[in-house]
Symmetry: D3
Subunit: 340 residues, 6 copies
């Protein structure tokens, strides 16, 4: 693949350490992340040329985020600067029966106040083969939604593959519009969609159906409805997550390519070191798999699931694994032996 | 409920971090806790007016404990000052097959050397609706036992509900008296007792019976014996704890109200972040449940069990959870999902 | 037992904390360890007189290693000094499906450049009743192999019991010789060997057989072959490790004394705090058991397994447990209760 | 003194540790502070009944700030809740020739969006003898300025002493008004003002004069101008700060009571552990001194200077010193001897 | 010198990090130290055979102290076990004008409850050439004073050099006796005394004289008085400490050998990393100097001063410096150059 | 300037925190640095296109170093891979009279074993305007010296400005050659040399003269000798460092351009947070100044001195300051005021 370009927000992540509750914390771990950027990091780790586009404030916090992007080997040359602040999210890491808790403090961020026309997408997308966005960008502000739609249209015009992670966050969407007001137009250009069926239905404004992902017969019908509503759609996939507790997850995946349903074997993930970003790890794995394992959707899906599982063992938003590590797991090595 | 007053000791807790053994520690986590105070914190977190009475040394360590009480929103205005030192307990946190280890260094503490008459209980208990004590106070010294009995008698005279967590600690009771010398008189005023049947029998000086808590038929007889010996008793409850390993507990509970046996469903607790104070979390939940869910002993017990389970996920002695968090778990949410 | 002397390398261990990957680490935990030294620590903790012999560089890093030995109550008076550097190993601690990763940086160490004749083994081994070495020493350099063989011969001449942990490390053996070039001569003096059958066969230059350790009938034949090739062999034992994940191990053990097969019950080990050194904990337990529980090979093996399990709960290379703690577990206490 | 009430903003403070630059930080120390709240903490530490009024968001970060207030023994019962977020400031602690750097991220905070009429000042100020505000509140937003003016007027009507720390921050005042638009009306009710003469002149809209604080003859004239413009003024004071480097300050003070000039001896402050909040420590000391050392303005000023000096030795925003510690220093003990 | 034996208490030291006040600390640095033990560490670092005798509790905290002694290469074989607890001292490290603060929690310690006759001094002191004690032991309890006197008498009988560091601590001496009740008898056997003249006078029950240590003419007379009262005295020395602030000390020393006064040049010590134990570093340096630089009292004194200065740069109670490092400083190298 | 290319070694730096001695450290701060790389970081921070060329091992430690280079915005595309290990240096940070201590563990590193011909310098230096090397590379091994000479010759042939920091390290040069064997040939192509006169004389094999840098009359003669021996020399400069203590330095600088002597005013640097890399900060500042402040050698020198001073306030090897921060200091702002 030539180059992947993703557009979205990168935030300062402030997390309590060792499962402390917010009120116990005398310090917060400080790192940087955001759904679309996390996807870029995954791809860069697999050796793919990945670029992230966003808007950063011109202060030391924005400058620190930029250094982090460079460290992760993600191209940052088309980032624009301005606005008041870097978005923040606070993370309290749960354990067992106590779930993790995210407090967003991302309103009024530089990315939330980005305007259509800020970025020269014709230039940015030159030579790109894939464009990735997610449902978070239209959830943060109306102008961000417009800026994102602008990018999508240019990408579509250039014939670039477009993927979208639906990423519904109920704590966002505070600016007066609902997903079904905004998402249908944005989604119609997508070639690859990641998200569960009901989220897709909800965003497209059609009633939820509570699908049974084990029932391989009913799934094609449900997915086909998406293909009807989204004319460019080629691949619809979902992470299947069974949450035993905050510390124990079971991860599978399902993919429909318009013809066949593919299922990945469910894997045990315990303990969970950090589950934030595991969906992005799936997305990154899926983009890699779809573009590199051509005509092998099963392997693409299995790669995404293996990547997602490994992410749960790594602190922070990013899936800091090599291509070889994911492939080793894909090929059966999950016993966690010591390498020495 | 109007106000809960608890009487007991608060200690400096010095714990090794990240499962280190004592000899490996270059630093100890420093916090403050003690059974009866921990109960107050639970209640304050549920929105109950809670007051803690103890005796503190007039030095910076005592002053730090006082700041902690304030932070936890527990009333401290009737604390008395004097004596030599704040009691200490060292905690080495185990994992898996290695249990946690507590080294007490609480002899000669300000609370251990408290004398009868130090506190004006008539004034302190004015307007209170509940008084809580535990079997730890009579275990630390004879004068502390006498000071506690004095409080119990005033509470009884005022018609205040009295609860006791039996809390037997074999490493205490070093001053020449046994539980059965001291506890029978103290316990006779109790309306609510928490502790397993054999501990209650032992403290009352009658032979242990090794009860089967699954056998709901035999339990009423065993509990009724307590009701006979303790004339004011209304509720006897036990935490049921099955220890798979230091990192994996199963928690249930049983309650007898003189008429019926109530059982709570057993819950899996894994991993254990910190189990110290989980009994106090049960006690705090029970007091809350009994006073707020009137005539619903099942829900009171279930609330106590849910509170106890959540405590295991939180570092330190206190159950830093809100009423809503316990109720969410009580109502079925224990999958540990991310809230965002 | 009079005194155990072990010969080998002690390294600086640099480990990432809290499951961080190498590239995330802003600091490394710094401790000291090495297979044969770890065995000495186990023995010293059980009250055995243990001495470690090695070669250290004359710099502050070597001096720090020496202080660590003293802290662990291991005799260090016969250590020799010289050479360029203390060997290092970097450890990235895995979790769940992600295994731990060791990066060796031990080439050119003071121990790797030790020469035959550096140590007066006649004097060092005076009064010793046991000599221990492992397959790591001949793996690091030819001169270390020669220096070790020299020690083995003196020990044999003095009639001292000799034990060897085979400890095959594929990342070592970089100096041009293979195990089967070097090990057969070294192993022939061993009285006790720890290692799985295939490793022993491989080191002795005979084809692997992929033994089934549950099949107690076939095992004596397989072990007997070792007894034929190693004339002084009395005991051959293996740790049996089933790796569910990096965080969950199942540990058993098998022992053959030339006559009978002994099996230890398999124990669940979860979570794993640190599995590095757990084989050394087994070896230390085995030496203790064989010398202190005379004529009770079953208990010796069970002791080794219990010691190995406990080690997994302790951070760092050493098994910081007392004799009483191992015996408690051996006698059935593995519920991880709080001691208070 | 009966009770001091202060009105202002409390923020989450995120600071780099050990002089790290922002881009080096993997974690931020997390504490809470703000000019007017810091003054309350000083007063509470001196045994004064202090209350802080502000507006907090209804989330876990706001709840953590509330716990901190309680810990500091500052009354919080009249705080109102609402709005989007707790203001944040990032602090990079300098050293030597490199100054500390503050990055504000406090726009859109709950306090910045407070409206006039949110607080029932008649009730809040009942029984209060002192009201304190600072020039930061009108700097953050127009509505905050209005809400503050409302409080000032009620305090004035009730005959409560009013103090103001001018606290000019060039990075604030971003909402379209200048200090001279807003401050003259607000300041006219003040009885005590802290700030250098030029800041006062600037805020009152008159030309700066670059005063020489060593020239005791010219000072009365300069201060008298303030007394003319602010009819209720009784005391005008300035901290005198000579910055040798970020790690070495010289602190003095000057006070004019309409009749006489008082000067405090300049003290050496080195090293500086944390200078943020040292102006608030001066203000807190001044309020204490003026109200408790009646008719002894020299001692009031000296107390403020001693408190300010001690604050530089303490990490965080607050001056965690006792009355006795300030008085000891006031009475000459500044050699930093060990107390044992 | 053959061997130095010291008798005294070793405590758990719990210190706040980075100049935090007690109430700010979420963790305490945990180390072990005590005046007489610290002297042993100095001597062991200089290559002297040093042994420490004390009484430790039989718990994990006592065991950890023992490991620390071994790490420091101090002989511990004659330690006795028993009693309730290891003494503790809390240390809040000051800065600038804020002095450090020690809170003792050492009453009822195993050493405080030691009894005369617990230690077989005849055996312990066999082969020793120096015995060291300090004024702290008689300050903690009457029985400790008696146990110490017993040791002193045996040492005297055996002709061993006896040194005493007067070490007056006003927060101790709580058991009903004053220094002048106890110390005169104990001191009469001393050959070397460290302490300022007024402390010595006070302990001997004679009026203080406020000596001028710069006035070399008056000093011999003042010291001679000590020689008259202490018949065995050979050397009296004082550390001269001028405390500019908690972070800046000036260190000198004076010594009288019955004939001449020796003065050491005053050295600047800034910054102070940790001044606790710097007096013990002086004492350790003095013992080394007097025994190794025979007939060169000036060099002995200079060595003690250099050792004391270096100690201020090292965290913890011990002077972790080599003989070479002290001698380098003694010989003029105090510029703090990088060695590389 | 177009682009600066530097060639040298980057090491893993393992440093004790908070002034701990090596034997006290339970963890080492882990970062990456090396003289020539540090120069690149300075330049990148000033907005200059900087590239670093070295040889890294193909393991996770090498990969982590590479991520660090990217984070620092230094081009790394021409790095070659191979060899055994990344060089390490251990750093114990001193304080006051105790100097910092460096223990090198860099023998056998990938860079030490680089061979002539490994790098295609014709390609690498295409478009570069400056090439920088230092006296460390020829000090680590003969093959590294040869590889460096090869680069120098290509740079010279291309007419690129060549700078050399002499950087004499007595603990290196262990491979059998002395500086005067190797350096004369390498230095003859240099246009800019940084280092004191005696080091230059020593490396060129001529007798030291102990120059007086305050004596501006004698300096031109001494420097002229260098210009005679090094035909391409244009600029010779020295950092002037007066070490009051490890925590207090005075920094000046001198420069000779073949015609005139330039002196920079001496600045006080206290406290020193980290002085390692401060010489590289001077070098980076000098390269910036000479290329950007054309014909203003005074300002170039002053810039280098200001950069060097600021470096002392920053932890780690790099001078993490912006161009604006150095210029602010250059223009007089060194009072360390808070920016807010």
């Amino acid at each position: 693949m030539n180059k992947v370009v993703a557009f979205g927000e990168i935030m300062l992540r402030l997390s309590t350490e060792r499962h402390l509750r917010f009120s116990q914390a005398k310090e917060f771990g400080a790192s940087y992340g955001g759904g679309e950027f996390n996807v870029c990091v995954s791809l860069a780790n697999y050796g793919i040329n990945a670029e992230f586009v966003t808007r950063l404030p011109e202060n030391e916090i924005g400058a620190s985020a930029l250094k982090e992007m460079r460290k992760m080997n993600v191209e940052s040359k088309n980032i624009v600067f301005g606005g008041e602040r870097l978005g923040i999210y606070f993370l309290e890491t749960g354990a067992g029966t106590r779930g993790s808790n995210v407090v967003y403090d991302r309103a009024h961020s530089s990315m939330a106040t980005i305007q259509k026309g800020s970025i020269d997408w014709e230039k940015v997308l030159e030579g790109a083969s894939w464009f990735h966005w997610s449902g978070i960008t239209p959830a943060i502000s109306e102008s961000a939604a417009e800026a994102c739609l602008e990018a999508i249209k240019v990408a579509h015009k250039k014939g670039i593959t477009i993927s979208c992670d639906l990423n519904y966050r109920s704590k966002l969407w505070q600016y007066g519009k609902t997903p079904s007001d905004v998402m249908p137009e944005m989604l119609q250009y997508s070639n690859v969609i990641l998200g569960d069926i009901d989220t897709a239905y909800f965003m497209l404004g059609i009633p939820k159906v509570n699908p049974n992902y084990q029932d391989e017969k009913s799934l094609p019908v449900l997915y086909t409805k998406l293909f009807e509503l989204i004319p460019n759609l080629k691949i619809a996939a979902s992470t299947l997550r069974y949450s035993v507790s905050a510390s124990h997850q079971r991860i599978g995946g399902v993919l429909f390519d318009g013809k066949a349903i593919y299922q990945a074997a469910v894997k045990e993930v315990t303990p969970v070191i950090d589950r934030v970003g595991s969906g992005d790890a799936f997305m990154g794995g899926l983009i890699y798999g779809l573009s590199e394992y051509e005509n092998n959707n099963q392997r693409a899906l299995d790669f995404a699931v293996a990547a997602c599982c490994l992410k749960h063992t790594i602190a922070g938003d990013y899936n800091l694994v090599t291509l070889k590590e994911v492939e080793n797991m894909l090929d059966g090595d999950s016993a966690g032996l010591v390498s020495r």
